[in-house]
Symmetry: D2
Subunit: 309 residues, 4 copies
């Protein structure tokens, strides 16, 4: 691994921003959630957080956006911290090899989702966290506020309502897994918890900071331990193999970092032991990942040599 000085992060971000601005073709914003459909695909922000909480940023790095599936990482960590390996009896950790909301593999595997980052898997994790805390979404929000140091983070009620109104696919997944006995809570309760988590709005700075515990081998911003060293490594491994829908292989190939994307256009990424990143741009490719976001991370690892490979 090349050595990069922290003082170099800002020039690298500036250079990426300049190159991205000249890139045509930014994909399209998500249209299945009406509240997200109007976002301009040319918007862009990026932040890097060091282990000590120092943050560098460029573009709209302080602009809140809809986190969507990015929150699946935090829900996974919060539940894993509570129940440990028992979770893995209810959700797998293998790539799905299918579009992100497929029911096919779920049927062939008797209601056990392939991993915690496809929608079915995230529903299971939320269900279990909710059983253990009585308020999965609240637990998540508290965690994100604490790690980012931003008490203003909150649910976006417009987005949550919009998802609920278009939530038949997720309702189908939840009922289907319930038919196999893999859901504990009532389906409407679970869906409410799930959609509220997805609706949280946060900025690149917020999310880069909140992801810090994965670069610090499980240690939270306040020095307390959320995950064991081994568990932190495991969450990173699941992100690398399953974090970007059906493009995990391509993401590993191009970027080479554990990462998790959301259809709001955000992507978080981890350089274990070194730093965390978050990039945002609402234009998506056909697999649901931010076009400019992946390009920016690709450029970052090329310029800095900070890949895990």
């Amino acid at each position: 691994m090349m050595t990069i000085m922290s003082s170099q992060f800002q020039p690298v971000l500036d250079r990426i921003m300049a190159e991205i601005d000249r890139t045509p073709g930014r994909g399209r914003s998500a249209d299945y959630i009406p509240a997200l459909a109007a976002r301009d695909p040319r918007r862009f922000g990026m932040a890097v957080a060091e282990l000590d909480g120092t943050v560098y940023g460029v573009g709209e790095w302080r602009q809140p956006f809809s986190t969507q599936s990015i929150t699946k990482v935090f829900t996974l960590a919060l539940d894993l911290a509570r129940e440990g390996d028992e979770l893995w009896e209810h959700v797998g950790r293998e790539p799905s090899g299918n579009p992100f909301n497929s029911l096919v593999q779920l049927e062939y595997e008797n209601g056990i989702p392939r991993n915690p980052f496809i929608n079915a898997g995230a529903l299971v994790v939320t269900d279990r966290l909710h059983t253990r805390t009585g308020d999965a979404a609240g637990e998540l929000l508290s965690f994100l506020r604490a790690e980012s140091g931003n008490p203003d983070l909150g649910f976006d009620e417009e987005v949550a309502a919009s998802e609920t109104a278009h939530g038949d696919r997720n309702a189908a997944l939840a009922h289907f897994m319930a038919s196999y006995g893999n859901i504990d809570n009532e389906v409407p309760v679970l869906l409410d918890q799930y959609f509220r988590q997805c609706s949280i709005a946060a900025s690149c700075a917020d999310l880069a900071l909140a992801t810090g515990f994965l670069a610090r081998h499980g240690i939270r911003a306040d020095g307390g331990r959320l995950l064991s060293r081994s568990q932190a490594k495991q969450v990173n491994a699941v992100m690398l193999t399953c974090g970007t829908y059906d493009a995990a292989g391509d993401f590993a190939y191009r970027v080479g970092l554990p990462g998790k994307s959301g259809v709001g256009g955000g992507i978080i990424a981890v350089v274990p032991g070194r730093c965390t990143l978050c990039v945002w741009s609402p234009g998506l490719d056909e697999r649901g990942n931010s076009v400019a976001g992946v390009a920016a991370l690709d450029r970052f690892t090329t310029l800095t040599g900070l890949s895990v490979f």
Copy 2:
């Protein structure tokens, strides 16, 4: 990443060997290839090679075994070195989410295999390398001999004949892809090339050395460059996400290194910039990976902290 001194490799290997010897339940040796079926699942060897070619070993680390699918890594590198990114128009780089010889996904994706490490993908890579060299298996053997410094490496004719006799599944895959225009050579010619590659016998020491170029960012044992720095990173990424059949997620979760297994019981693994490993034990789990091999690599990364995460 913790710091580990090279002088610590031998004690770590000795400790792993001692622990493995006390482990009951070693799985079963592969039985679909008669020539492999008789291997004792309790046999074990392991080697670590440093970047400069220094090798440490334990158990039967100098005992040749059947490399099988491990050779897919080298064939991929050899073809990628020749044709570059054009290869990726003929084979994907996403995890398959299905058992290793499935035809299902191949049909849904019009004859383009998901990645170079499922059998279908390896057939495509072999086909293309054979078109470019006129002797894919010979090219591979020369490479392995040169990198391992072992001129005695050779094909195991008994194993190759055994695979040919039981090769209907691979013949089906090859004809199926040919029906989509994704195979250039005659199917019997291709199968002969493919089975000969799989039949190569090599030891843990040989394979740890031969894998060195992936830890040296593309540089061969003699200092020449096989792959660009970026290509070496990419091969490592494909290994991490697709290298252990339908257990890539589990392997990343437990071991956290790019790796590739074979049904002969061997597994190679890469610590980029640091060292390469090869472990062998013929007892397989239900997904085709060596039980003791995965356990030994898991233990190695735990003891040394040498994971990519």
Copy 3:
């Protein structure tokens, strides 16, 4: 086709009953609906109704049982009578080639179920009939009462409640199709309608009479027309190719009549232009069809020559 005198129906039924009573191995009663699980698989009844309403019977041919999926035939006919061919834009008429509640094919075909007799297809038909009548279940009950001449037919509330409590799989199907825009009513409303239809209790005599319109080329018991001659033929065709879950080919091969089974153990069958049959025995084979029921129909067609082939 051989000629059989009506006076021969009773002796044929008596003979079948005698043979069936000596048959060991009757399968198991459905256990996914608790209210059905306790039924004794050795019970047996059978009725034949001529076109003029004369009924012959044997065993427990006047014993009400849970009609379950048999009602799908009547709901199909009632909706087809109202909306005609437009229905076929929302549900197919091809065999499914998969177990009866599979989600797989539904996903590959964008929310259009393969035929009206798999659960997904029946949900669509019920949904459409409910939109047109405001009370699909009530419409069905009225029809069955009128055709059977039995005003005591009614819903079995215990069975309906039991299905609702275990209805996650059907809820998943309904939400899934709703996500494709192929369901008009609210899912809970639809499920209530659907489960009430399935819960109707009726006897072999009732159902043989109610099926009469399909042997009379669309003419109801009172002489009025429900379906055109062509539509009646079409419903028979769908029954023959899709009426017995994943055993339609086997049923056609052995019995050779349009038929429809239910997990309550009943089966109706049609000899166009001649008579209708209903048989009941709660022991099911692994595909959900009554073991003694299929055997009795097989015997009936062999003894009388009354197959369509």
Copy 4:
């Protein structure tokens, strides 16, 4: 069933011909077999054969065309006559619910094809007939010559060669089933037998006559018995449920007769106890059935009332 006088067959055929000639849109001829691609989709012929061998015809009813999959019916009957029910341990009799050359279901069902009329199933039947006779294709040709009374029937070497050259899909199917132990002969030998059968050229008159045994409950043209009454009924049942690729339900719905189509544009159909039909027109719909052929049979059953339903 309405009564129709034999003297009415000719006027019905004439009327159908007149209507068909005014129908625009005839689909496209098969293009995956080059030798078939050039056929004019507007060509049309149709024949009806009575039980006694009297034949009525219209259009090009004496013009030989490529029988293709139609021969699967005769191969099935010839093998069933020899080995009886044992055949059904090697091939199923359920509709496939998938396009005609799908490998998916074959994999899920361990190398047992769904029915004898998908390519995989026909390969198994041919394989078994070849084992029993030493010359499956010759056996078939002899049978067709005898039943049609036409000694000039023969293989079309151009078509057979063309299929062999484009036969990778069938080679894949055969090797795949061989990997499950469900093929006895060497794959190249089997494919040669299979393609020769498909290449037989025959006219509507020839095929209507050759199909006669299925309307005569198993009796051949010379009065000898090929199949038992029960077996003849069973072959008709398999034709009705599986005879027209993924359109069997639609064919039953529209035509209501046991039938079998081929990509050469021919379709045979059976009115048990009454007559047999063959229609030919090379323009195919997207599921591989003759557009004008299905329309003509639909019209025939509507005009005569000769449906099984």
